[in-house]
Symmetry: C2
């Protein structure tokens, strides 16, 4: 049998793996390699070429039978290119020529050794060639094997159980971004093959979905009402389509990219979506869409895979795991223990329990404006635009009531963990009554909203803070430990903080009077404008200031800040995400950005974050700082934020898994003390 020195030769870009020393395999691997004698695999009938994985790349299981294929009298390229139909690798074991049986055993034994040395499942390429009349095994290449999301956790978990890896090493083997796929509806490979694919777009929000084609919000809502599954098929989506989108099983758009409204919102809600399927032409009048020779009518079934971007005709079978398997849950638990970054979720009342179940500990962003969808919209319209003061007052009371119920539910689920409730934050026009005649702002992003509206309409933050503290008071009386955190959006200057602090303290004093005890709460600010980012030395003290004439215990117990990196990116780069489609794709194509700035934190935004953190921590080394923009669920960004020293990250529930795993990986690779 040839020595290992002689056989490892063509690893192309895979040389890095050879820096690991293999026992019984020479140390010279990984250093410059001499020119080797050529092996062919097709010289004689007793030669062969093949590939095999040391474990099953789909299930992750270590079978007795190797996971591989072989081709007799063939070269490596033939196997990879699929030009000839290769045989299952058992063909060696079962071969009439017993010389091949020994080689099969040798493959298994070497696989075992390689796994121990490389400390991972291996994907190998080999050639068998007659040397002095004896079929002899040559390894051409080995590398860590590519595997399914499922196999990833199974292998990592088993390698720990087998004593090959520590927990810390094992969690670093898992791709955080793929972990969520473990619970998504999936189309099995066999079903994919059998299905008719009719179009392909961008894989915008993972998972598969099947339903009836709907072209409008109303159709989707009607389908939902009739307990039918809908796939919303449209050119693009906007804020106006939110109800219809949420009512759908899946979303399919003919334009847009992974950062369009449809993609962002679908990901946030965990609804499978395919966007930018440009082969599709919608004919609304006819109630059809067509693509590649197919014409699909309203109400016809289609199936989409947001994991692959594919669109299929009819109902394609899907499978949905109900919970994580043992190995995956173990990986997640280890990550929870290891990480030093807090991981919270951006969640309103309905999403809080599912987020907790996924592992989120705390709510990093409760968007109170999301309360005003549907039936609740008229209430806020009466407050903001009504002419009848009594009606406005009544509406405010109604809002107080359902707000309190929602806040209470979230704080109850997250008992003992912080629940950050952001004061109303929406551009005014989102609440405009239809045909109100009110003038749309030129640049609503930079207009009258958020804390600006709280200051022009102080009755709204007053009511919201009352609802928050009353909800907490009820929970305290039930023996719970609510941690309400009141958050001010769009702050630019310290006087805004002061104005809201005064309202909070006044309301807290009233609550204390009514309840007979003070309700502890925190007060924090979003950092989503450049002005705020560079003014930490004024804004942080404002959060911790005392309001004259009030007891200490009606003041916030701590201050905090949370980066809203969506808006911070928009203002820092002067790019409106809604309008970016006209030039941003070109910028990305030209590689003007190293990473898409609305997906991964841009260096200029990172500088803003660093400036604020430095200023805040200079005042208070334990000042709690979070991120709650979409970047909070991006693995590149989490890495940067871990290093910068954030307290925690918060993201849509759909990205909680990846964030827990990435945070733990960061801690393994760059250990830091918890910032609390």
């Amino acid at each position: 049998m040839a020595s290992a020195e002689a056989v490892f030769r063509s690893w192309n870009n895979e040389r890095a793996i050879f820096t690991r020393k293999l026992e019984g395999i020479p140390d010279s691997l990984g250093t410059a390699v001499n020119i080797q004698e050529m092996v062919f695999g097709n010289r004689t009938p007793r030669s062969a070429t093949g590939v095999y994985f040391t474990r099953d790349k789909v299930t992750g299981i270590k079978h007795d039978i190797l996971d591989g294929t072989v081709l007799f009298q063939a070269q490596g390229e033939d196997v990879v290119a699929g030009i000839r139909n290769s045989l299952p690798i058992e063909a060696l074991r079962d071969h009439a020529d017993p010389a091949f049986h020994a080689i099969y055993e040798e493959l298994k034994a070497t696989g075992e050794k390689l796994e121990h040395k490389c400390r991972d499942m291996q994907d190998t390429e080999f050639t068998i060639e007659e040397v002095n009349g004896v079929p002899t095994l040559y390894f051409l290449q080995i590398r860590d094997g590519k595997r399914s999301a499922k196999a990833e956790s199974v292998i990592a978990y088993n390698l720990v159980k087998e004593g090959i890896l520590t927990k810390e090493e094992a969690i670093c083997k898992v791709n955080p971004e793929r972990f969520e796929e473990l619970l998504f509806p999936q189309i099995e490979p066999k079903d994919r093959k059998a299905a008719t694919m009719i179009a392909k777009g961008s894989a915008a929000s993972p998972g598969a979905a099947c339903g009836k084609v709907c072209f409008t919000q109303d159709e989707a809502l009607a389908a939902k009402a009739a307990k039918e599954d809908a796939i919303l098929v449209t050119v693009m989506t906007s804020q106006e389509d939110v109800k219809g989108m949420k009512a759908s099983r899946g979303i399919l758009t003919t334009t847009g990219t992974k950062v369009s409204h449809a993609a962002i919102m679908a990901t946030a809600w965990g609804i499978p979506a395919v966007v930018g399927a440009s082969e599709i032409t919608i004919d609304k009048a006819a109630g059809t869409f067509s693509c590649n020779g197919h014409t699909i009518k309203r109400g016809d079934y289609i199936t989409i895979s947001g994991t692959t971007g594919e669109v299929y005709l009819g109902k394609v079978p899907m499978t949905v795991p109900s919970k994580l398997e043992e190995s995956a849950q173990a990986i997640l638990d280890w990550c929870q223990e290891i990480k030093s970054l807090d991981v919270r979720a951006n969640a309103e009342a309905a999403e809080t329990q599912p987020a907790f179940n996924k592992g989120a500990r705390g709510v990093g962003l409760f968007r109170t404006e999301h309360m005003f969808l549907g039936d609740r919209l008229p209430y806020i319209q009466k407050v903001l635009f009504g002419n009848d003061k009594d009606e406005a007052k009544k509406a405010l009371e109604a809002i107080y009531q359902f707000s309190k119920d929602d806040f209470k539910h979230s704080m109850s689920v997250m008992d003992g963990y912080g629940v950050t409730i952001r004061l109303l934050d929406a551009p005014l026009h989102e609440f405009f009554p239809h045909n109100s005649g009110l003038k749309q702002e030129e640049n609503p992003m930079l207009g009258h909203r958020s804390v600006r509206m709280a200051i022009t309409n102080p009755e709204i933050p007053e009511m919201q803070i009352k609802a928050i503290l009353d909800a907490a008071a009820e929970l305290i009386k039930e023996g719970k430990h609510p941690k309400p955190e009141i958050e001010i959006p769009l702050v630019i200057i310290a006087p805004e903080v002061k104005a809201i602090l005064e309202i909070a303290v006044k309301v807290a004093a009233q609550v204390k009077k009514e309840q007979g005890f003070a309700v502890p709460y925190a007060l924090g600010t979003m950092v989503e404008t450049p002005a705020a980012a560079i003014s930490g030395s004024e804004i942080v003290p404002a959060l911790r200031a005392k309001v004259a004439g009030y007891d200490d215990d009606v003041h916030p117990v701590y201050g905090f800040a949370s980066f809203g990196t969506n808006d911070l990116t928009q203002t820092t780069l002067a790019i409106s995400r809604d309008d970016a489609d006209r030039f941003l794709p070109l910028y990305v194509d030209k590689e003007f950005f190293e990473r898409h700035p609305f997906i991964s934190i841009h260096p200029a935004v990172e500088k803003m974050v660093r400036t604020f953190v430095a200023d805040a921590r200079a005042i208070d080394p334990k000042f709690e700082i979070f991120i709650c923009g979409e970047h909070g669920g991006d693995v590149y960004t989490i890495g940067r934020l871990h290093e910068i020293g954030l307290t925690g990250v918060s993201m849509s529930p759909g990205k909680v898994y990846r964030s827990i795993i990435k945070a733990a990986q960061c801690q393994v690779q760059h250990p830091r003390k918890s910032v609390k």
Copy 2:
């Protein structure tokens, strides 16, 4: 005669002026003051009270006759309040009782002394009271006298000629913001003759004004909000009317004198005013005023001349003085010599010569999008939205031609000085053809415009740069010394600079080939986004980079940057100026901002500026940095920028005077080396 110790007693808020030592007037002035014996001015018929200025507060001239008024047997308040009609101060000189003649001479002699000690024109308040049967002069108060803009330069200039002040001291006596009043509208004698004069009062604050009659502060504010000119017509004004007065084009009162509230304040603000027009009777209930047989209704137009005290019916033509008087021009010339900040103007072709005449040396911002108004609009529409490629090409050629002509004119006027020409910078929708059906951007401020459009439509910057360099080439051949500076708007990242640099170098090489010589030019960037402001260390080197394959002499000869503080303020504070009306006034009222952020640079924006300047100057201590936002003509901001070390400021031509003067004052008060 009473000693000076005994007479200075009630100076309220004016005590600071007494820190200057007065020769023959005791040193104890300015320190804590003992309780003094009261003087009344109304005890006996031989007592009096009066005020006088040591020079004429309207013309600045030092007359033989004092500029003042006197009231016999009266108290100081009676003079100021205008309750009784006071006499010209010559009444003392011409009095039947010769005791008053001596007092008149004493007033003149003391005025002379006070001017030498205080080194400025003085406004004095005095009382005459019998002491042992002898009318004796008491000074109640002195202070630097308020004066018209014209008097300001005349006095400052004369004080230098009289050897009392140095040039440096003299220029600091001039209020930069009022200098422009010297060229305020006036009514020509022939127009005066043709007009119908309906009343006459005192010429209280110079300049002519025409507007609609308003009787209250609210009416004046409403008129201003409706962008209409208002003339506030009222019996008298008080501190409560300040907002309405400021909102008016002119002020007309039926009572009062040149020392009444209306006169003093209007003079200070540079608002034309006529006071004491006693022929006028106001009937507020009817909403009219009447005089000499005329009845003028609320909303009717009138014209007033604060220079002559006349009130005219309707709109009377007004003319603007064509040049400064000798004293003012001398002050301006001194400032030009003294200042270290460059002062340029924001000007297109038509405004360049007037800006040069005012003293601007260089154009800091030539907005090329301003070329596309009126008849020229269809050209750019064909380029941006047309479907016919041939038509678009023809349109581009036409734009090239008139662009070149405009650029050539400006560079010719500013021969030897830099002319910064900004590449096309306008939100796309500003060029939308009417009813184009094109979708308005959600936030055009943050949309597809500026360098983003240059990158998606490179034929536009290519044409513009060709026009700039060809214009410069023509001037060079005419023996001139053009200094074209090509400016990139809305930069956020270095690759944008690189993309435009490559276009510029390519075009410069083509021009060199066509002309037989290289045309020197500079390349610079606007700094109007937070991303650019904090990325100087990447953007500055990008401006100075070399493009491979091109000669050195087709590269920019230097790089520069200019702060667009309008947009930088909008993005840093996340406030759209267009939409700010819904909350910014409240913020200003509540004093959330120390200064209005769209008038004077906000501290957060100043931090951005400092960051960029520090990064840029670390790379090149002589890197040229300007400001060309409206803040460039704000005196507070100029003070900050002088200190930060900007190369120069650029502003609308209307503010060139104030900027030259303020820049010189900064240099006197905080000397620095020129940054060039």
